[in-house]
Amino acid sequence: MDGARGRRQPDGQPLATVRSISLLVENSPGVLAKIAGLIRRRGYNIHSLSVGVTDDRRVSRMLVVLEGDEQAEQVVKNLNKILEVRRVHDLTGCDTVERELALIKVSVTPGTRQEVLHVAQIFRARVVDVGEHTVVVEVSGKPDKIDALQALLRRHGIREMVRTGRVALARGSQTT
């Protein structure tokens, strides 16, 4: 996922629209490569990706977040043609529950530790590891909430971090 290349806006900026595509796929080798390849071939960058098995262990749920444009609908149609793909839904603009989880390892000193813990508490983030020079906080929520926490912790020094990528489900009785 080379951000330096691929489809861009005319001014060279990354594509503006972000599209969340939910897929139910067969849980088998090569499916991820196929989906990634299909997106890559059309020059789109994958913004985030999450995969996990569903209650039926033969089936996995994927959520692909793309930097898209109006042509990205073609991607959805072509994803539908992959035999192992059972269902595809473009969740963009749908009423969904969206969550993401992040682990953030922050540098602390005796003087800053309290402030970091306090910020974590405000965000209802859990502290899952406390070391002499670092703490690791676990936060989940909407992606923008994680962005916000990340921004606040940045001045303390984020040593390393990981985000799971977005997961999403449609609200109510609608299934995707």
């Binding site: 067969e26 849980n27 088998s28 080798p29 090569g30 499916v31 490569a33 196929k34 390849g37 071939r41 033969r58 609908e73 073609q74 149609k77 072509n78 539908n80 043609k81 035999l83 192992e84």
Partner: protein, 596 residues
């Protein structure tokens, strides 16, 4: 014989869960007894493969054996009902399978060993992918125990072919083979056809198993075939109200077997029709409403008509850039009805005002039913007729130098346009498209989307294997023919009376034409020093003749058509400077069309 591996939880690449190998091993231990269980007959993966190919309707396989496919070939040794054509290069196997499929409408089959064998198939598979041709490729693979370890002749053929196949299977359990093959044939042919690859590791082919029964092969893939009735009604309405309508038909009509329905629609509505390169033969091109091919080298009148149209019924086409030129200038006044079995084609290049996803045969039949009063389009037809009179396809045949168009016309005349013409890629391909007006579907076979030089002659062999009774002409250039001509010997061996007609202009003509027109005649590496093709043919055991003068052409073609039991090579030396016109330069519009 049994190979057991510790990786018992492996799955087949397409998602089937492989059974633990230990269970199977018990059943095929020599003299093994299954206490309390019914003794089941075990068969090798290779035997199951060959049996499944036969059951799926395969009759001819084009291929070359190798180390990893030894077990498969051992099983083929006994399969007398399957004809295996031993070609001399796997690229030929894939192109021949395409030619076979396109001439017959059946699934073409090719076979190669692992590694280099499989990679040599890639060009042919890509061609099949671009032109939506149903082909099943079976490749050998190194044993499962060494997959991923850079074994001798190992190539990740699944990875390599992923973007150019409709689906690819790697079989990890021989018991899956009957299902995989049945499903592969179904997937290749159903919906929008395409190539499917089945990769069979050597140990899987060798292992003995009790096959699993084949269940519903369509379980995972059910293309939508019926068009939406309301959309069809809307399309009928639009067609009846149009003032300058035109039908733009492509290869999808031929795949769907919808020529009859298409012709009925043209006759019921009186609407003029133009075809793509892939759509040649979708309607009799002698039909008074047919304007021939459109696009870069299409007829001027077809391109003018498309440009002025107010309604375009696009069926089985994909708005390829060789048809549309600059997209925003293509048919600027038109609304589009777009019929295609592949939903991903709708709106890909041009937005469709009335999209109809479905099988062309069903949709066109339903559409014809809906037409109650044909549109009033006399002024439009008069306008088109005027263009047709003013801008016909033309060339001047003198007494000295043979014009390539004259060769195509002579072929057309002497075969009554009832032959199967298979072309290679380049100028001759476009001249053939212009001057050989097909009467029926599946009689014009060409590498349309991929434009793969070297395609023509092998595909003609495939077509001849599919249709032994028909005259098959391979119309090729001197450049492209040299990419696959080694297989003349295969055609001799099988006594295939393919007529190879070389439009020999001593250069890579289409590239030369572009260099002339757009690169100030800087002829960079396009001039060919050629062998004496007629003598070369004779060395292979084929018949060969060189044609140098215009007055020899007719007699030579007649002679070639008479040869019944051997391939014939007619080396026709044509005007080296002739250009293929009209031409809409790449990325431009009908306004920039070069007429002469």
């Amino acid at each position: 014989m049994t190979i057991t591996t510790s990786r018992t939880a492996r799955r087949t690449a397409d998602g089937g869960v492989a059974r633990p190998r230990a269970t199977r091993a018990r059943a095929d231990r020599p003299g093994g007894r299954l206490t309390g269980a019914r003794q089941e007959v075990t068969r090798s993966g290779a035997e199951l493969l060959v049996e499944a190919l036969r059951q799926a309707g395969a009759r001819v396989i084009f291929g070359i054996p190798g180390g990893a496919s030894l077990p498969i070939y051992d099983a083929l040794y006994d399969a007398k009902e399957l004809q295996h054509v031993l070609v001399r290069h796997e690229q030929v196997a894939a192109h021949a399978a395409v030619g076979y499929a396109r001439a017959s409408g059946r699934v073409g089959v090719c076979m190669a060993t692992s590694g280099p064998g499989a990679t040599n198939l890639v060009t042919g598979l890509t061609d099949a992918h671009m032109d939506s041709v149903p082909v099943v490729a079976v490749t050998g693979q190194v044993p499962t125990a060494v997959i991923g370890r850079d074994a001798f002749q190992e190539a990740d053929v699944i990875g390599i072919t992923m973007p150019v196949t409709k689906h690819a299977y790697q079989v990890w359990d021989a018991a899956d083979i009957p299902r995989v093959i049945a499903e592969a044939f179904y997937v290749a042919a159903a919906g929008r056809p395409g190539p499917v690859l089945v990769d069979v590791p050597r140990d899987v082919a060798q292992s003995r198993v009790v096959p699993r029964p084949v269940e519903d092969v369509a379980a995972r893939y059910r293309p939508h075939r019926e068009g939406n009735a309301a959309q069809i009604a809307a399309a009928a309405e639009a067609l009846q109200a149009a003032q300058r309508p035109i039908i733009y038909a492509g290869g999808g009509v031929i795949s769907a077997g919808a020529s009859e329905e298409l012709t009925r629609l043209v006759e019921r509505t009186g609407i003029p029709i133009t075809v793509t390169l892939m759509g040649k033969g979708a309607i009799d091109e002698h039909h008074p409403r047919c304007l021939g091919m459109l696009g870069m080298h299409g007829t001027a009148y077809a391109n003018y008509a498309i440009n002025e149209a107010d309604l375009i019924l696009a069926v089985g086409v994909r708005f390829d850039d060789r048809v549309t030129g600059r997209l925003q200038d293509f048919a600027p006044h038109a609304r589009f009805i777009h019929i295609d079995i592949d939903p991903a084609e709708i709106g890909k290049n041009k937005p469709a005002h009335i999209p109809i996803v479905g099988d062309a045969k069903l949709v066109l039949a339903a559409l014809v039913e809906r037409i109650t009063s044909p549109p009033q389009i006399e002024p439009w037809l008069r306008q088109i007729e005027e263009w047709r009179q003013r801008y016909p396809l033309r060339y001047r045949q003198g007494d000295e130098v043979i014009k390539p168009q004259f060769v195509c016309e002579t072929l057309a005349r002497l075969t009554g346009e009832r032959a199967i013409v298979v072309t290679d890629v380049g100028q001759h391909q476009m001249w053939a498209a212009q001057f050989y007006r097909c009467r029926e579907p599946r009689t014009f076979i060409s590498s349309g989307g991929l434009g793969a030089m070297g395609f023509g002659f092998p595909a003609a062999m495939g077509a001849q294997m599919a249709c032994p009774q028909r005259t098959v002409v391979a119309l090729v250039g001197d450049g492209g023919f040299q990419m696959t001509l080694q297989d003349l010997i295969t055609a001799v061996e099988w006594r295939l009376p393919v007529k190879v007609v070389i439009i020999n202009n001593g250069s890579l003509g289409m590239v030369r034409q572009w260099q002339q027109l757009f690169y100030r005649r800087r002829y960079s590496h396009v001039m060919l020093q050629n062998p004496d093709f007629a003598r070369l043919a004779q060395v292979f055991g084929a018949a060969g003749r060189t044609v140098r003068r215009p007055d020899e052409v007719e007699e030579a073609v007649e002679w070639a058509l008479r040869v019944q039991d051997l391939p014939v090579v007619l080396d026709v030396l044509v005007d080296p400077e002739e250009n293929c016109l009209p031409m809409i330069p790449s990325g431009q519009s009908v306004k920039e069309m070069i007429l002469e």
